[in-house]
């Protein structure tokens, strides 16, 4: 046992030592001089406190990290093919990547949204947008697999998506690129004459199954709708969309779209919109789109749909209002109480905060309207303003809330996170970020009940943060502890793709609910083989169906005969009923198929066209057992 005086000396010594190496680098790294390492250290066998779901940006995927350790657990394939497990390649999942443009095996995924009940994260689903080819995905949090993808018609650049209402009644999806709606070849300069339009789409989420469907689209002026967040509690009925380029410039937007002092946050009453639809005020509109659904342990089904209900704002008074917001607003975030709508203007020198109550008070009073755009009243800036955070930083973008009365705003240009107080609008702390921070995420921070312990900043650039690895460096995220009065940087970590936005969920909400296997007796796959005795080969002309089983450490049937040009379908069922025992399946030199990773009790299908005569090995790719290397067999292809 140490005596108290000794303890003080030792502590002092450690503290000093911690500061010494940092002297040279100065303030930028001084925050690391604390015991940050021990606060992110998760000892072997211990578990992280939080799941972080990060979107993959241009990788089109979603990744799962543990916080505070920042260990990468999994990449969930969503919009991009994934050779590791055959997603997008095999007969079960390739339908998931179907669109009206054909098979699109990539996308640009920006925003992760969590399903909510009463404004709180409920741990059922995550939603992810596809910006490039407008789509919206639902990821099931039992299996951590993509279950559904819905294409959004009459839109281009599904950026302000998928933001959920308080009980996940709807997900919002709005146009980033306004285009002719319906699509047509028109001169590009007709954009400036109002020839281009945007749409706001209400995607209905079935309360029990999570199934997605398009409820309604609203045709809005042709601006760029950038981000969204929906209200909570008193603002439950509303969602707020930021927009830029209200100038409707069509070339050199850098200048053209930055002319006006203010653009808008669009306040949208979705309850009113539904009401107008039910009153028959929406009209039938075209638009082809697909809905891809991957039911548990069955092949995904892609359904072509056409037509939506379209609503014009002028036909539904009280549904939409524009709130002027300086300048080229990007972020629009609603605080945990539902009262404050915080704008983040890329070029603004203030952070404007609108008051929901004020908006409700003035929205229908003519003296508070400055003008009207295509049936949408424009409210006066001062009329809805709750306050402005003065000179917070350069390029404020996104704001998250800690539930304790503080807001954290990311600042892209000055590479920092500013902490400020709601109500007094004073900045209380500047935190450096390395570098060019976009979104922030606090555990539960966009819900009505933030968990408020960790904040991650998602950065675009990492110059000098890691060992150089050629021209392209990893993107990164930074972890801050915000549990005490002063936020502290704990660690930074490289990420997969661009960590554009994230949702973080306390581990206790999910960890006991995750699925461990597919029960074989519930396997409804049309090509399932539930025991080895049923393994068989069925020939239908030049098509061969191989009903195959995989179990430690063999496949059955194990010798397969085929003729050149025949199409072979390997329907492989993993007979294991043990957690964490998938089997892999790959054939040597299969040009159109990568690998299958078949979960216990699951059936998946590998399509292979018998090539020139020869003997081709197939084998298990997932190290399954002591005899994994023996889990290999042959296909003989004869002329």
């Amino acid at each position: 046992m140490l005596k108290k005086s000794n303890l003080i000396l030792v502590t002092l010594g450690i503290t000093l030592m911690a500061f010494v190496p940092n002297c040279k680098k100065g303030a930028a790294t001084a925050t690391l001089a604390s015991d940050a390492a021990s606060r992110v250290y998760v000892a072997p066998g211990e578990k992280d406190e939080v799941y972080a779901f990060l979107s993959g940006g241009f990788s089109g995927q979603m990744s799962v990290y543990g916080i505070p350790s920042a260990r990468l657990f999994k990449i969930i394939p969503v919009f991009s093919v994934f050779p590791e497990n055959g997603y997008g390649f095999d007969e079960e999942t390739k339908e998931m990547l179907k669109t009206t443009h054909g098979y699109v095996p990539w996308d640009d995924s920006h925003h992760v949204e969590s399903s909510m009940t009463d404004g709180k994260q409920d741990g059922r689903w995550m939603f992810l947008n596809a910006n490039n080819t407008p789509r919206l995905a639902r990821i099931d949090l039992k299996s951590f697999e993509t279950k559904e993808i819905l294409e959004i018609p009459n839109t281009a650049g599904n950026h302000a998506s998928p933001f959920a209402t308080e009980n996940t009644e709807y997900l919002m999806a709005a146009t980033r690129f306004s285009v002719p709606v319906p699509q047509a070849s028109v001169p590009i300069d007709s954009f400036s004459k109002g020839g281009f339009k945007g749409t706001v789409t209400m995607v209905k989420v079935d309360k029990n199954t999570g199934r997605l469907s398009i409820e309604l689209q609203v045709l809005v002026p042709g601006f760029n709708y950038d981000l969204s967040h929906c209200g909570k509690k008193k603002s439950h009925d509303w969602c707020f969309f930021s927009s830029y380029n209200s100038e409707q410039a069509h070339k050199m937007l850098e200048v053209g779209a930055s002319k006006k002092d203010k653009d808008f946050i669009l306040a949208f009453n979705w309850v009113r919109a539904k009401e107008c639809k039910d009153q028959g005020k929406a009209y039938n509109f075209g638009g082809e789109y697909v809905n891809n659904f991957h039911d548990e342990n069955k092949p995904a089904v892609s359904t072509k749909l056409s037509g939506v209900k379209m609503l014009n704002p002028k036909d539904c008074p009280g549904m939409m209002y524009y709130m002027p917001t300086p300048k080229s607003p990007h972020g629009t975030d609603v605080d945990s109480t539902g009262e404050y709508i915080v704008g983040g203007g890329k070029l603004a020198s203030v952070i404007p905060v609108h008051s929901f109550s004020k908006m409700m008070e003035v929205k229908d009073k003519k003296e508070h309207h400055s003008t009207e755009i295509e049936g949408i009243p424009v409210l006066k800036y001062e009329s809805t303003l709750a306050g402005e955070v003065q000179k917070p930083c350069l390029g404020p973008l996104h704001t998250e809330f800690d539930g304790k009365g503080y807001a954290y705003t990311s600042c892209f240009v000055s590479s920092e996170v500013v902490k400020w107080k709601l109500g007094t609008w004073e900045v209380v702390q500047h935190l450096p970020a390395y570098y060019s921070v976009g979104h922030l995420s606090i555990v539960g921070g966009s819900s009505s009940e933030p968990y408020g312990k960790y904040l991650i900043a998602m950065n675009k650039i990492t110059k000098d943060r890691y060992l150089p690895v050629g021209m392209e460096l990893p993107q990164s995220a930074q972890l801050y502890d915000i549990s005490s009065g002063k936020a502290e940087l704990l660690s930074d970590f490289p990420t997969v793709g661009e960590p554009h936005y994230s949702q973080m969920i306390p581990a206790k909400l999910l960890m006991d609910k995750t699925a461990k296997l597919y029960p074989l007796e519930e396997n409804k796959h049309p090509y399932a083989t539930k025991n080895e005795n049923e393994a068989k080969i069925v020939r239908l002309g030049s098509t061969v169906h191989i009903y195959m089983t995989a179990i430690r450490s063999h496949f059955k049937p194990d010798i397969i005969e085929a003729r050149t040009g025949e199409t072979l379908y390997f329907h492989v069922t993993n007979l294991e009923q043990d957690y964490d025992i998938p089997h892999g399946f790959a054939i040597g030199g299969a040009p159109n198929m990568t690998n299958l990773l078949i979960m216990p009790g699951e059936t998946r299908t590998f399509k292979w066209v018998a090539p020139k005569p020869g003997v081709y090995p197939f084998y298990c790719t997932d190290f399954c057992s002591a005899l994994h290397q023996e889990m290999q067999q042959y296909i003989r292809v004869s002329p």
Binding site: I551, E576, Q577, D578, S625, A626, L627
Partner: protein
């Protein structure tokens, strides 16, 4: 001795016997014995339960996974159908319960003694049969098994824990077994109590 055999059971002891008969009915509903195994790759453990009429896994998939593990060493698959004892064991238990109820009609100390003998017989025969099955499973291994360790047998312990390769197997009575044991204790108590009562009557 003879007087003790035909001594009528006290009201309390008759009730106790009735209790034993009723509690024995539970043995149909709960496992008698359980074997649990743990290994590095099974941090959560695997379990197997022996019931009066079947063998199951502790979870719906444990038995399957135990068999999967066992196949490496060439142990034959453990399935209820291969153990004929499980077919008549329910009747043996029924006989014991029947005996308890007959004792209510014919409440003599001799019946309690018969019960003790029956329970002891069932226990001894049961345990030795259990041991025999364990022995057979552990020793009669497929000579073509992937893993053959010279001189190694895989007989689980009758009672207690044992290490086999990287697996620790533990074997203990489960609730049903405890009930059978307690029934025996109850009958022995009755015998002791009746004996004491006889002596005090004499005095």
């Amino acid at each position: 001795m003879k007087t003790l055999l035909f001594q009528t059971l006290s009201k309390k002891n008759r009730l106790l016997i009735l209790g034993v008969g009723l509690v024995l009915v539970l043995v149909y509903l709960i496992p008698i014995w359980s074997i649990s195994i743990s290994a590095p790759q099974y941090p959560e453990g695997l379990g197997m339960q022996i019931w009066i009429n079947k063998i199951t896994g502790a979870t719906p998939y444990d038995l399957k996974n135990i068999n999967l593990l066992n196949h490496y060493i060439g142990m034959q698959e453990i399935v209820s159908e291969s153990i004929p004892e499980l077919l008549f064991m329910p009747y043996v238990l029924g006989y014991l319960i029947f005996g308890a109820f007959i004792t209510e009609i014919y409440p003599k100390v001799g019946m309690a003694i018969l019960g003790i003998i029956n329970l002891l017989l069932v226990g001894l025969v049961g345990l030795s049969d259990f041991w025999r099955w364990e022995y057979n499973y552990g020793h009669n291994l497929n000579p073509e098994a992937p893993i053959i360790v010279e001189g190694m047998a895989y007989q689980p312990p009758l009672l207690g824990c044992k290490e086999m390769l990287n697996i620790t197997a533990c074997s203990y009575p489960s609730y049903g077994g405890l009930i059978l044991g307690l029934s025996l204790v109850a009958l022995v108590y009755i015998l002791w109590d009746e004996n004491r009562r006889k002596k005090s009557n004499v005095v």
